[in-house]
């Protein structure tokens, strides 16, 4: 009996710790999603006195209708627009640069690549305020230009493509050159199709960065017609701070799309974001 215990207590302790960690991680999601389908008196009544029903979804979708009557649809549409354009432009611009770093030796290549690496060490928040000042000077303040253009060039995405393109066999490229293909053709018809796994990870990264951006759209495009989804959510949280079910509904909508994509392409996303390959 004691032998069994001394052997299995680490396993039980492991499961117990994992369970506590998972509850802490997941409870906020469950409470928010469950509450988005309830009316506010029900949300409050299940919290005090506390009942596990707080984590069971209700059946009332009215909070969702209410937020869309409050212009949330506009924010969703804006965010889809901005994220998709950023994704498309970001893939092309950064993969071109990655291709140049991977396939050419040219004067200044090392120092330029070092510069690219340094740019993703700079947190975007740290330059948001001067960048805002720059947008005012060039007249992009409060426009879609300000929301989209500054985020397109991305050092991390350049790096990901460079690593991939550097691994394509030299012979393949040289054969294509001998056949008379232009560099553009080699890039577009040979290398980009091979780079599909990188494109999935990097595209998801660009999409999610835009979808989840907050400080930049808050200061660079304050007009309500230009609000992106996170800014609209924050507005709900401050303007309608007592209407909890609408905050839950807005949070759910703002969170669900990236979560679905990330869940489907978890491996590509994690390896693009961190360089870690989950097994």
């Amino acid at each position: 009996m004691t032998g069994w215990w001394s052997k299995s207590w680490p396993v039980m302790a492991w499961y117990a710790t994992v369970a506590v960690g998972l509850i802490f991680t997941i409870a906020p999601f469950m409470w928010a999603v469950a509450g988005s389908f309830k009316d506010n008196p029900q949300i409050f009544s299940e919290v005090s006195p506390f009942s596990l029903m707080a984590f069971v979804p209700g059946t009332d979708p009215s909070a969702y209708f209410a937020i869309f009557q409050n212009n949330f649809g506009r924010a969703v549409a804006n965010t889809v627009f901005v994220s998709v354009i950023s994704l498309a432009a970001g893939i092309i611009v950064n993969s071109l640069a990655g291709f140049a770093f991977a396939r050419f030796a040219f004067p200044g290549d090392r120092i330029l690549f070092a510069f690219v690496l340094l740019t993703f060490a700079v947190p975007p928040e740290a330059i948001a305020i001067p960048l805002f000042s720059m947008m005012r000077q060039i007249g992009w303040f409060d426009s879609f230009w300000a929301l989209i253009i500054p985020g397109i060039a991305n050092g991390l995405v350049i790096f990901l493509y460079r690593q991939f393109f550097a691994g394509i066999p030299k012979e393949l490229i040289e054969a294509a050159r001998v056949d008379g293909l232009s560099w553009w053709h080699i890039y577009w018809t040979i290398c980009m199709p091979l780079a599909k796994p990188v494109t999935i990870g990097a595209g998801l990264l660009l999409f999610v960065f835009q979808w989840e951006s907050f400080l930049w759209p808050l200061i660079a495009a304050p007009s309500p017609e230009l609000h992106l989804i996170q800014v609209a959510l924050a507005r709900f949280a401050t303007e309608f701070s007592v209407i909890w079910n609408q905050q839950f509904a807005a949070s759910t909508i703002a969170g669900v799309l990236p979560l679905i994509f990330i869940f489907l392409f978890q491996r590509q996303f994690v390896s693009a974001l961190t360089g870690v390959d989950l097994k």
Binding site: W31, V47, F106, V116, M134, I219, G255
Partner: protein
């Protein structure tokens, strides 16, 4: 192949132009504009004042309180996040039947935007009707003020940022753990080392570089933590969460004093670089020692 010479530059041009204009130039712009004061209103002109913005800052107790809030947050949040990330990595390193699913669930907050995490946790921590106080009540703990309390607000911010961020840092540590050769563990096991011995003499020394990277990157990220302050505390109560990043935001976008805002951004960048340099100097590889 002479005609190829311009090709790499053409391929690079759009991306490099973007990085120079929107990543590099703003750093210098902050430095430059910190030397000006802006007049009120959109038409307000600016005038060159040299280092006056900095001088005013150093004489301003609000600024020093903000420095203090930043220091407190930095000292609390980074060790907490790294210790938890390491603990989680050690926990999830174990091979278990459902480990892939368990890892995926722990990674969920990485996919959630910080504003969402902030809004939901703001309601969780609501002093009157929040879920946490409801649960505390079950185990007989009286309701806590959380974000509305001078003593607890900074901890509530740490909680929100940690819930959102810890899995991300854990990933690097988990990868570092999986790179450690299993043979080292077997060797020290033969020597009779227990779990703590293995942690002390194998895991920690070999994880050192990864830990340093995570410490530096996490510190830099937390210096610009601002979303929970914008949405929930506005720097309060009594400026206890008014960190430098928020003070810079507030100076510019609430008080329209962009010179001051840029001066704070410049100082914050300098402080960040100094702290990171210190971390690397103190904790970085000292060849010939330790091993």
């Amino acid at each position: 192949m002479r005609s190829d010479k311009h090709v790499p530059y053409l391929f690079l041009a759009p991306a490099l132009l973007g990085l120079v204009l929107f990543r590099l130039y703003p750093i210098f712009l902050a430095l430059w504009e910190s030397l000006f004061v802006t007049g009120f209103g959109p038409a307000g002109g600016r005038s060159f004042v040299g280092l006056e913005n900095f001088q005013f800052l150093f004489e301003d107790f609000v600024f020093w309180r903000s420095v203090k809030a930043t220091a407190i947050l930095t000292i609390i949040i980074n060790p907490v996040q790294i210790a938890l990330a390491l603990g989680l990595a050690l926990l999830l390193q174990r091979k278990s039947r459902n480990i892939r699913l368990i890892r995926s669930l722990f990674l969920l907050p990485i996919g959630v935007a910080l504003p969402i995490a902030t809004v939901i946790w703001g309601l969780m921590l609501n002093p009157n009707q929040g879920l946490i106080n409801g649960m505390l009540d079950v185990i007989g703990v009286s309701p806590q003020p959380f974000l509305t309390s001078e003593a607890q607000a900074i901890w509530a911010i740490v909680l929100i940022a940690t819930w959102k961020g810890v899995a991300f840092w854990m990933l690097f540590l988990l990868a570092g753990l999986e790179d450690i050769p299993k043979s080292l563990y077997e060797a020290i096991r033969v020597d009779g080392a227990n779990w703590f011995g293995r942690l002390r003499y194998v895991t920690m020394p070999l994880l050192r570089r990864t830990l340093l990277f995570v410490l530096v990157a996490d510190t830099a990220a937390n210096f610009v933590l601002i979303v929970p302050m914008i949405i929930l505390t506005q720097g309060g109560p009594r400026q206890t969460t008014n960190v430098l990043m928020y003070e810079a935001y507030r100076s510019g976008f609430i008080f329209q004093d962009f010179g001051r805002s840029m001066a704070i951004v410049t100082l914050l960048t300098a402080i960040t670089l100094a702290v990171i340099a210190l971390q690397v100097l103190v904790l970085g590889d000292r060849r010939g020692q330790d091993k």
